[in-house]
């Protein structure tokens, strides 16, 4: 909500926003059907560009029956390319997170998208298993755009709705992984019916995701804004936003243990989602003797569930936070992700087709909602290194996918159903560390907030700046954020009298 009183002098200078905003000009409401600049426009630009990257990264799997004949691939080649497609983004996400902190999400994401578009164009001219692996590897880097969507949403939406915004942007982007299983065979069929040969048609088909990706990057650059007040560089030049140093951003990110725990747990919701995207079609095809087409539709439905499941996770996070604050967010995350693990175990053990599809859909809901819930917590871990923490968490997701595929789904050590059951067990084990996440000002799963009077939001976020930097006034952004994040104390905080005239002058 707008802060009256000392904000009035600023209001006459600041631009009018369509949505209600807080003191950082972040929107306090999330209106899905609006395209108002800058908040909702940023939302739509970020999810569409992320969707395009997902479509490109997973464009090959539905066309593999044709590609494997054209390029003479073996099952090992296909498996390796699948692992390569998700491994590149593991480190690209960390790099992009840092780039967002330094240059802003608009430039960072558009740069990545335009620099990986060539890999998608070159897929059309791949001619061997090696070149196929390389194009899938480099195309996969574009999945790092996830970090810029989360960073962008965290910069545009306030604490009250950040979970929902993050969940919707990421969920609708992830949708691309399911949509592509339907889009690519359709485009391929159309091109072949026009008269092209099979081995040419699939190559031409790849121009579609490549062009979509290029155009979405242009849209981000032309219509997007990094922050509600404008873009990074003009703001930095005007002195309204201080420029930060890479080494400081890096240091404060990697020394925050919560970032590492969330990286691990995200590996076992999002990582599992990526793994399932890669193996589920084959699983249904082999175990239940389905046609490839049918198995593909079932596989697509796992990814398409993202349209509601991930945003629902974000909504649940925000709803729980209203009453229980950060502790509620952590509990909800732990419960939903652990249940995801339980349903994964059941999926591996179920014998009939109908039951398998049902369990898979329930499993997809919990798995993807857990992803949404994770990014209800991430925006609060660090303010200075938000991008890096988002990147670490996102990167952890991809590493989880690589690890899980290597352990359970490479070669013939485990049957697919046994692999799925064991993956479920691993989900439960790797979700447990959430119990150790503790915020002094809000508490953790098992402990309440610290009883020390110094344990406040300001104390937590300003600990990322040293005295020198505070003297230069570099910490002002974090200060505002700390103030706005007080809602993470939960329902009981509303009844506390907000010390409206307690100015943060003590920290200047």
């Amino acid at each position: 909500m707008e802060i009256k009183g000392k904000a009035t002098e600023k209001e006459s200078q600041s631009p009018k926003f369509t949505l209600p905003v807080d003191s950082e000009h972040k929107a306090t409401e999330f209106r899905l059907l609006s395209v108002a600049a800058p908040h909702m426009r940023a939302f739509h630009l970020s999810w569409v560009s992320f969707f395009a990257c997902f479509v490109s990264t997973f464009a090959a799997p539905p066309l593999l029956p044709i590609i494997r004949d054209n390029l003479n691939l073996t099952a090992t080649d296909i498996g390796n390319a699948g692992i390569a497609s998700v491994s590149g983004a593991a480190f690209a996400r960390i790099a992009l997170g840092t780039a967002c902190d330094l240059f802003g999400p608009r430039l960072a994401s558009a740069s990545l998208i335009l620099l990986t578009a060539p890999a998608v164009y070159f897929t059309s001219i791949a001619s061997s298993p090696t070149s196929f692996l390389l194009v899938r590897f480099f195309t996969g880097f574009s999945l790092a755009t996830f970090v810029s969507t989360q960073f962008w949403m965290s910069s545009m939406f306030s604490a009250r709705v950040v979970g929902t915004a993050n969940g919707a942007a990421a969920g609708w982007g992830n949708l691309g992984g399911g949509a592509t299983q339907l889009i690519m065979p359709l485009v391929f069929g159309l091109i072949r019916d026009i008269g092209a040969l099979k081995f040419t048609a699939w190559r031409i088909a790849f121009f579609i995701p490549a062009l979509f990706q290029t155009l979405s990057a242009f849209a981000v650059l032309i219509f997007g804004k990094d922050l509600p007040d404008g873009n990074f560089r003009p703001l930095q030049k005007a002195g309204a936003k201080p420029k930060d140093k890479l080494s400081n951003v890096f240091y404060h990110g990697i020394t925050n243990y919560r970032g590492w725990i969330l990286a691990l747990t995200y590996g076992y919701c999002f990582g599992v989602e990526l793994t399932v995207d890669n193996i589920i079609a084959e699983y249904f095809y082999d175990r239940f003797d389905l046609k490839l087409h049918t198995a593909g539709i079932i596989a697509a439905s796992f990814g398409l569930a993202n349209i509601v499941s991930r945003p629902a996770g974000g909504l649940i996070s925000d709803a729980v936070a209203k009453r229980f604050g950060m502790r509620g967010r952590l509990w909800a995350l732990w419960i939903v992700q652990t249940l995801g693990g339980v349903f994964c175990i059941i999926l591996g053990r179920v014998e009939s087709l109908g039951a398998s599809i049902l369990v898979m859909i329930v499993f997809s809901f919990f798995c993807q909602a857990a992803c949404g819930l994770t990014f209800g917590v991430v925006p609060f871990v660090s303010r200075r290194s938000l991008g890096l923490i988002s990147g670490m968490t996102g990167g952890g997701g991809n590493l989880g996918a690589v690890l899980t595929q290597l352990i359970f789904f490479k070669g013939s050590k485990y049957s697919k159903e046994r692999g799925i059951t064991l993956m479920g067990v691993m989900i439960i084990c790797c979700t447990f560390p959430i119990c150790f996440v503790y915020f002094p000002q809000w508490g953790g799963m098992f402990c309440g907030p610290s009883s020390k009077t110094v344990a406040t939001e300001e104390e937590y976020y300003l600990s990322e700046w040293n005295t020198e930097e505070k003297e230069k006034g570099l910490h002002q952004g974090s200060l505002k954020f700390a103030d706005n994040s007080r809602s993470e104390r939960g329902g009981r905080a509303d009844s506390e009298t907000r010390p409206a005239d307690e100015t943060p002058s003590a920290y200047v």
Partner: protein, 205 residues
């Protein structure tokens, strides 16, 4: 007791219906057809360009009446074991309906048991045939469209008389040029945007 009888009866009934439901096993077929093809052992054929001449007919040394049920002959291009390694989508299984060894149809011709001459066909290797090692097999079908006999150009272990096909790449010069142009365009447009941004911020100062 009645339930058990019903179960048994339905099992027997379904077993007798099996041939209609494609449960014919390859191991149950007799090799009665003689099939020869023009490619020599180890020859490499180019997809879309080179031709194969296939000749097939009943093995003359067999007793008369062996071919009384044959109605159709289908000649197919089949993958040799070398091209099946690590490729489960080309797996050989005994149940012919599930067998994925022979995925490319060369020709299907009706069979007349009265006509004892060998039939032949000159077939251009189609452009959707992938690069692999192959042999040729012919299946004889009865009136119910079930396999009843076969013949192939190689031995029982599928090791002799194999030939290779080199498929088209599917690439065209235009496509190569477009890929490179669009890629360069993407990168250059990014640099152009950076330049415009820099100019804008300099001007606004």
């Amino acid at each position: 007791m009645a339930a058990r009888r019903l179960l048994l009866a339905s099992l027997v009934l379904s077993c007798s219906l099996l041939p209609c439901y494609g449960a014919v096993l390859f191991s149950s077929l007799q090799k009665t057809l003689a099939v020869t093809a023009s490619p020599t052992s180890g020859q490499v054929l180019k997809g879309g360009v080179d031709k194969i001449t296939v000749t097939w007919g009943l093995n003359q040394t067999l007793a008369a009446g062996t071919d009384s049920t044959y109605k159709t002959i289908k000649v197919k291009l089949c993958y040799a074991p070398l091209s099946q390694v690590d490729r489960a989508w080309r797996k050989t299984v005994d149940r012919i309906k599930k067998d994925r060894t022979c995925q490319h149809k060369i020709v299907a011709r009706p069979y007349n048991s009265a006509n004892k001459t060998f039939q032949s066909l000159e077939w251009t290797v189609q452009r959707d045939v992938p690069t692999a090692t192959y042999f040729i097999r012919a299946y004889a079908y009865n009136a119910d469209e079930s396999e009843v006999a076969y013949g192939q150009t190689t031995d029982a272990h599928k090791t002799t008389n194999l030939f290779q096909v080199e498929s088209i790449t599917g690439r065209h010069m235009t496509m190569d040029v477009c890929s490179i142009c669009f890629s360069v365009f993407s990168v250059v447009s990014l640099l152009v945007f950076f330049y415009i941004e820099k100019r804008k911020s300099k001007r606004s100062q």
